[in-house]
């Protein structure tokens, strides 16, 4: 794993790429301008870091998530598995049990389908809603309720990571507006895919 600190310019939104390059270009959401991040400064004492450097350090130490902040709604999904690659990587790294990893991935996929659903198309909205409900039930079926990470925490974290840009969280809320006045039940049996 690349332990190098990435240095961020204030306000932006970056990350270290997997190849260990020391800087890269990332588009901003609003202006679509490109901002060049600077090279990391390894082993620098934290008290000497600027706020932007400290923030980058928190990301590098995985205390804060390092997320795809692409202005596109879908973000990057190179392997086309329905999960953004940054969230995919988070799941792979944080859940070692295969069943828990699969359950977290199912939930992440359902969150992504919500973001991408056409809020005017109620069939799409209902299908995404149902996938999310089944995925939530799968989390509670898979994660222990007393020991280790809690299923509620898993879903809250992935939900927050999925809605990490203005465009994505607005899409998420638009979806909820389409759900207004609908109803649904509780799936029984095994809802894991």
């Amino acid at each position: 794993m690349n332990k190098t600190f990435c240095l961020m310019l204030a306000m932006l939104l970056a990350g270290c790429d997997s190849g260990g390059n020391t800087g890269f270009t990332y588009p901003t959401e609003d202006s679509q301008e490109s901002i060049q991040t600077e090279s990391p400064l390894p082993n620098q004492p934290s008290q000497d870091l600027s706020p932007a450097e400290k923030l980058a350090a928190l990301e590098a130490e995985k205390k804060l998530p390092k997320l795809d902040r692409n202005y596109e709604l879908a973000g990057v999904d190179e392997d086309n598995n329905g999960i953004r690659d940054d969230i995919d990587a988070y799941i792979q790294e944080n859940y070692s049990d295969p069943k828990q990893r699969a359950a977290a991935a199912q939930f992440a996929r359902s969150m992504q389908s919500i973001i991408l659903a056409d809020p005017e198309d109620m069939d799409q909205v209902r299908a995404a809603r149902r996938a999310s409900t089944r995925a939530t039930y799968c989390l509670y079926r898979t994660f222990d309720l007393k020991i280790g990470v809690q299923p509620g925490n898993v879903s809250s974290t992935i939900e927050a990571m999925t809605t990490n840009t203005k465009q994505r969280i607005k899409a998420y809320f638009r979806f909820h507006k389409s759900l207004d006045g609908t109803s649904w039940g509780s799936p029984e049996g095994d809802t894991c895919e």
Partner: protein
């Protein structure tokens, strides 16, 4: 589009586990019965600013706490009647302003928005540890959020829904009535205002004894059942300054001493359903569950419309908005046409027929493996007579997952016994490997 729905092949015996393990309900696959025959529904009506996962977790928390059968052994099922809170968009705009503070250090990090709504949590705590100057920003943001919650809740209190203004919810209650179910409503926050309307409507359909409601964090003095309110619920406290609210029923610890709840987070506002009212580490959750269970166990059987219709692997419920004779036609996989003149099919039954006005009509597909046929069920409508211009509401529901789709059709001229509109093509299939029955529709 083609949506795939899976069902377990049978669910007669449900094993309920909660303490120290994952939650699971498992089925007795040896049975011929594909469905649980529930006679009680617990319906949750969510509060202000509730996202889909939290709405589902609220329903799940109720399910875990109250179980799947009543004291007398009746099966319970759980449903959600969802309402949206206007103002989510405003949260985004204001949060963006907060992120832009302090030189925009956190600009663009919208993942912090949802995380912040329940109080300090992992990412925010790291930020506040490293950048103490964000304490003020965080505080101002939560203040805004609280104000917005109060504003949205107060707006509804000032103009409460007097009727069940969601068509899908009303048809769902109609369906419960048709199937002879007793109803336990559990409402949180602004959901209480919808619950009052739903309660009155349900009482008109199935009688007083068959409907109960428990109000959680209500701000209206109008209640139709027991209520639970925390002494440090800051949202309701603030609302009490503008009007009468019910008295608090339970005390909760101050914020800094408050344990994490269902999401393992803490709620600084003391108002959240999952982190406060269903937080099993707080006494208030026991009080709430006791009231719900007492309500469930006190439910009487419906005294109107009882047993008119059966639950099924899937059901179709038709209603319309005035006089006229509208007919539901189901074409089963065997080719059998099920309608008013021939109500018994090979796989299902038209068990409710209406010839004068409003409906309902109701078709169910059997839960018995030996009767339910795989294949396509074509659901169609006809304006038999006098229904030109009427709009029909057609609801497709499954026995466990509730409403799968609601569609509408406005009729043209009468066509007698010949259907004029195709509404659903429902496909039942069985997975050869898992033996699971699946339901899809177009």
């Amino acid at each position: 589009m083609n949506k795939l729905y899976k069902y377990t092949s049978a669910v007669l015996v449900l094993l309920f586990t909660f303490s120290g393990h994952a939650y699971a309900n498992t089925s007795d696959v040896s049975s011929d019965n594909l469905c649980r025959n529930s006679k009680v529904v617990v319906a949750f009506m969510n509060g202000v600013f509730t996202t889909l996962p939290n709405a589902d977790k609220s329903k799940l928390a109720l399910e875990m706490a109250n179980g799947l059968t009543t004291e007398s052994g009746k099966e319970i099922r759980y449903e959600l009647l969802y309402n949206y809170t206007n103002g989510f968009e405003d949260l985004v705009e204001v949060f963006e302003q907060r992120l832009a503070e302090h030189g925009g250090l956190l600009a663009g990090r919208f993942e912090l928005l949802l995380e912040s709504l329940n109080g300090k949590s992992a990412w925010w705590e790291k930020i506040l540890e490293s950048f103490s100057f964000y304490e003020g920003t965080h505080h101002v943001w939560l203040d805004f959020y609280k104000t917005e919650m109060i504003h949205r809740y107060a707006s509804l209190i000032a103009n409460p829904p007097l009727d069940v203004n969601y068509n899908e919810h009303r048809v769902r209650i109609d369906n419960w009535a048709l199937e002879g179910m007793s109803v336990m409503l559990v409402a949180h926050s602004q959901g209480n205002l919808f619950a009052n309307a739903a309660y009155n409507y349900a009482v008109s359909q199935i009688g007083t004894g068959a409907v109960k409601v428990v109000h959680v964090a209500p701000a209206s003095v109008i209640t139709n059942g027991e209520h639970v309110l925390a002494d440090k619920d800051l949202v309701i406290k603030a609302l009490s300054l503008t009007g009468a609210v019910p008295p608090h029923t339970d005390t909760i610890p101050p914020y800094l001493l408050r344990p994490g709840g269902f999401n393992d987070q803490t709620d600084v506002l003391g108002h959240d359903f999952l982190e406060i009212y269903m937080n099993e580490a707080l006494d208030i959750s026991s009080a709430l569950v006791e009231k719900i269970q007492a309500g469930i166990n006190a439910l009487k059987e419906p005294d109107m419309n009882q047993g008119m219709a059966s639950s099924g692997f899937f059901t179709i419920t038709l209603t319309w908005d005035g006089e006229g004779d509208v007919d539901l036609h189901a074409y089963e996989p065997s080719g059998k046409q099920v309608y008013y003149a021939d109500k018994k099919g090979d796989s299902g039954f038209l068990d409710v027929d209406n010839t004068s006005a409003y409906g309902p009509e109701h078709y169910y597909a059997s839960c018995n493996k030996n009767e339910l046929r795989e294949g396509e069920y074509a659901i169609k409508l006809a304006n038999y007579e006098r229904a030109q211009g009427r709009t029909a509401t057609v609801q497709l529901a499954s026995w466990d997952e509730g409403v799968l789709s609601t569609r509408y059709h406005t009729f043209g001229a009468a066509t007698g016994s010949t259907p004029s509109a195709s509404i659903f093509n429902v496909v039942v299939s069985k997975d050869a490997e898992t033996q699971e029955y699946k339901l899809s529709y177009q």
